[in-house]
Each structure stands twice: as structure tokens, then as C-alpha cells.
Amino acid sequence: MVAATAGRPPRRRGRLARREAIECYLFMGLALMGFLTFQAGPIGASAYLSLTDYKLLGAPNFLGLGNFGRMLADPLFWQSLRVTVSYAVVTVPAQLALGLVVALLMNQSVKGIAVFRTIYYLPAVITGVAVAVLWRWILNPEFGVVNAVLSYIGITGPKWLSDPQWALRSLMLMSLWSVGGSMVLNLAALQGIPTELYEAVEIDGGGMWTKFTHITTAMISPVLFFNLVTGIIGTFQEFTRVYVMTRGGPVNSTLFYGLYLYQNAFAYLDMGYASSLAWTLLLIILALTLVVFRTSRLWVYYEGSAERA
């Protein structure tokens, strides 16, 4: 960039560059104001609030790290962590694996594949309250379609969302419905793999399995990595679905972290404590992301960076 303008006389370049810089910041103006008002300012405020007992009415009292001590002794905090982690441990890998299998199927050259791609992708795009309402009905123990289908093959289905043993499993099951999101990313990655690589394996006498383990998995590992990180972060912010479907019940068996945080902030108006929960959430996300990044060197392959690794 610098080299391109090097030939011009220095004074003219300086004036033009200054003008361009001013324009640059003018164009960014709205976004910068937004950043200061809705991000930077609130981040600072939230950090302060997390050290206070602020309850919306009245002034905040400084507690130091009191909220974090309270958290350690708060059984619901631990419950929400347990729920969120067990959900993530099951659904994130399950989504990754299933998404890859579906993408491999979609990557075959058979007729009508575009129609299937639309059908598989649809549930990943359609989200929100209407879907949550629909799934409550689907999982209805007496009249829902899942237990109806199970009854045809002689199984009496569980009580799903109203059974503390099954409520979280129900949500896990439901998450597989939107496997299309992971599929689309995997599919794009699969279609980006140069065919020469597969041909090279064929020349060396390798079969399907060698191709899959040596070429496919290596070439799409960055996408799997991306899905893993966003999947974990997403689980910790799960809210709408749980709010509409279970409100965290029965007996807190689906009390996701995001829901517990919301309840503290806007149901109990315990905004100081909610802020400290939010900062703990950030620390958890950062720690998990760091772990994934650190270990990614072992299994993620980036084309063109092979020498460095």
C-alpha cells in the first residue's frame, strides 16, 4: 500500500493522505459512535456493576469481589453451569459429526440434490419463538407426534419436557433438527477441496477410507474447528428456546446459563449479580476458546502453513 504512492511528490501526498484519513474516520463515524455507546461504555459500566449490589432502584454499593464469592456458594449458578456444559458436550460433537455425514451425502453427484439441500438447510434457518412453540407440541407426551410415532413401534415414549430426567435430553434431540447449518459449512469446504488431492491418493493405490482420513478430514478441519468454537459459545448464550419451552424447569433441569443470567437481571432486578455472571461467562468463553485454539494445532490443518507447523 505504501509502495504504491511512493513515487508522488511528498507534500501533495501528505495533504491527500490527510484528507483520505479524515474521510476514512467520517465514513466509520456511525460505527465508531455505536462502538463507544453500545460496546465500550457499557463494557466499562458492566465491569464496575459486577463489583456492586446494584438493583436498578437506588445507588450501587461497592462489594469488591463479593458477587463472585456469592456465586461460588450459589447452587443455581453451579446447576446452570452443569446444564450448559452437559448440553454442549453432547450436542456440539453430535452436530459436527452428523453435519459432516450429511455433507458427505450431499456432496455426491446424484440428481435432485438441490432439493435435498434446501430441505436439510431449512430447519437451521427457521428459528425463534414459533419453532419453540411447535416443538413443545411435537414433544407433548399425550398428543405429540414423537410419542405417536414411537407408539407405532410399540414404545411408550417418555414425558419429554415435563420429566426432569428427559427435559434436557429433549432439547438435545431438538438441536439435531437444525444440523443443516453445520452441513452447509462442511459442504462448502468439501467442494473447495481440489480433486488433484484425491487423484494423488488413487495413484498411490489408496481407497475411499484413505481418502476420507487423509484428505477430507484434514482439508475440512478448519471448518470443524470453527463450528466447534461457535457451537460452544452459542450454547452458553442459549436463551429464547429455553425461555419459551421450559423456563428452566422442571426442577431447574434445563436452567441454562443464559436463562439464569436473564432471570437475575430482569426478573429479580439483581443487576450487579447478573453483571458478575456475565463477566464469569466471558471468562469461561475465553478460557474454552483458548483451550480449543491451543489444541487445534494438533488437529487443524491450514493449507499453505504446513511448513510452519
Binding site: G34, A45, A130, F143, V145, V223, F266
Partner: protein
């Protein structure tokens, strides 16, 4: 990493397909069977929603279920929409969505142009800081932003839901910047020589050349605002202000409704309809947008 520059992605897809050998007859039969079974399972929820929405109340609560209602009860739809003021909720939601789409398109594309084309000291550091906020959980800023809007007296109005959209969205800034970078510079240089200023170049050259990316941003923002639940839940108190998402959620727990699942499903289906229509008409843009920001990460 696999790169899929937006304008070329289709060509690469085709190249990938041509390079692959056709599966054998048995293989194809297996693939079709798996795909069809999977598609059936994925479509049952939608079928169940439409089927229930057309049943008589009595038939909705049968076990084993009535799969195809006969005759279909079309009057469930007008009934559902008047049971709660859903037409009001719809109008409210459309208004919010329209404002946020316009706001985000303007503010995000302006910033994206600066990050893609205009040079300034510190620009790239600013960009990195903005990108870092994508990692930040919404919960961190939720409470102070609420306090801010509360202090401004904006709670129980649409302002907290609309105004932030006019101040840029990092995700869309990133998406548009990546797209702008793929546009050749020659056009702009020619315009610059003809005396165009930066705003004219942005408005008359960059934006018209970026319609697919702008459409993707509009669609994502549409879906986001249409489905937003937490925002309206926090900020809207009065019933006539409610959006479709919040209205539907209240509908679930309301004893004014009772066991009328046929009407619930009719209302839910109507709430999903704009998304379904948008998806079928603009599927390619969805996929491109997701792949573009996702794979390039």
C-alpha cells in the same frame, strides 16, 4: 484455509462436481434412501404444524393422532389471528424490521467502505477492536445498555430496538468489507480521475456493485429482527406494542387461550411464513452469506 470468494463460488462448486466420479447404481440407491429418510424426519415437524393448524379442536387431541384433517378447518386461521391481536403484533414487527434493515444497511456499508478502501493511521487497529467485540457475549452489555435506555426514557418504546441498528453491526461490516475487497479498483480510479469524491464512489459505484452482499445483509437483519425475543421482552411493556415473537410467547402461557393447540399452530405458522418465503426465494444468498463469513472466519 479453503477460500471461497463470493463471485467465484459457483464456478468452484461446479468444478468440484465435475471432478468427482458418478456413484454406482447401488451406491446411488443407498444415498437416495438415506437422503429421503432424513428429509422425511426433518419435514415432519412442519407437516405436524400445518396439519394441527387445520384440525378441529377435538381432533388435535386424539391419540393415535389424526394425520390429515378432513375437511381442513381453514377458519382456524382468522380465528387464531383475532384471539390475540396478532395483526397488531405483525404490523409492529414489520415496522421494527423495516427500520433496522435500512439502518444497518446504511451504517454498516459506510464503515465497511472505509475499512476496505480508505487509508488512515490506526484504521486496522480500529477494525481489530471492532472484530474483537464479536466475541463478546451479549450479556456483558445488556444491563448497562438497558440502564442507558431507561435513563433516556426510551423503555416501552421501539427506540431501543431500532436506534442501535443505525450505528453499525460488526458482523455486517465485516461481511461487506470482505465483499468490497473483491471489487476491482480500476472503476474507482477512473471515477476518481473524473473528479468523483469518496461518497460518490461509495454511493454510485460500490453500492450498486454490491447488491448481492447488501441483499444478504438485509436478509440476515430481517431474520434477526423478526425473531428477536430478548430485546422486545426487555423493552416493551404494553400489550399493544408487542412484536409477533413476544405475542406468541405470551399466547403459550395465557389462560385466555386454554387447550386450543389448533389455533396456536395456526398463529405459529403465520409467524413463520415470512421466513419460509424469504428462504425459498433467497436460499442462495443465505448460503453464500454463511459460507462467506463462516469459512473465511
Amino acid at each position: 484455509m479453503t477460500t471461497l470468494p463470493l463471485p467465484h463460488s459457483r464456478r468452484q462448486v461446479q468444478a468440484g462436481r465435475l471432478g468427482r466420479k458418478r456413484a454406482g447404481l447401488l451406491g446411488r440407491a443407498l444415498i437416495y434412501t438415506l437422503l429421503i429418510v432424513g428429509a422425511g424426519v426433518l419435514l415432519i415437524p412442519f407437516f405436524w404444524m400445518v396439519s394441527t393448524s387445520l384440525k378441529e379442536q377435538w381432533d388435535a387431541y386424539q391419540f393415535p393422532p389424526v394425520w390429515v384433517p378432513n375437511p381442513p378447518q381453514w377458519q382456524n386461521y382468522p380465528m387464531a389471528l383475532t384471539l390475540a391481536p396478532f395483526h397488531v403484533y405483525f404490523a409492529n414487527t414489520v415496522r421494527i424490521v423495516a427500520f433496522t434493515v435500512v439502518g444497518t444497511l446504511l451504517s454498516s456499508s459506510l464503515a465497511a467502505y472505509a475499512f476496505a478502501r480508505l487509508r488512515a493511521p490506526g484504521r486496522d487497529s480500529v477494525f481489530l477492536v471492532l472484530l474483537a467485540t464479536m466475541m463478546l457475549p451479549y450479556a456483558i452489555t445488556m444491563v448497562p445498555v438497558f440502564m442507558l435506555f431507561n435513563a433516556l426514557g426510551w423503555v416501552n418504546s421501539y427506540k431501543p430496538l431500532i436506534v442501535p441498528a443505525f450505528f453499525g453491526n460488526v458482523y455486517y461490516i465485516f461481511l461487506l468489507r470482505q465483499f468490497f475487497l473483491t471489487i476491482p479498483r480500476e472503476l474507482e480510479q477512473a471515477a476518481r480521475i473524473d473528479g468523483c469524491n469518496s461518497f460518490r464512489i461509495y454511493w454510485n459505484i460500490m453500492l450498486p456493485l454490491s447488491l448481492p452482499a447488501l441483499a444478504t445483509v438485509s436478509i440476515f437483519q430481517f431474520m434477526d429482527s423478526w425473531n428477536d425475543f430478548l430485546g422486545p421482552l426487555i423493552y416493551l411493556r404494553d400489550e399493544p406494542l408487542r412484536t409477533i415473537a413476544v405475542g406468541l410467547a405470551y399466547f403459550v402461557g395465557s389462560n385466555r387461550v386454554g387447550p386450543q393447540m389448533h389455533l396456536m399452530m395456526a398463529a405459529s405458522f403465520v409467524a413463520l411464513l415470512p421466513e419460509l418465503i424469504l428462504f425459498f426465494f433467497a436460499q442462495r444468498l443465505f448460503i453464500q452469506g454463511i459460507v462467506f463469513t463462516g469459512v473465511k472466519g
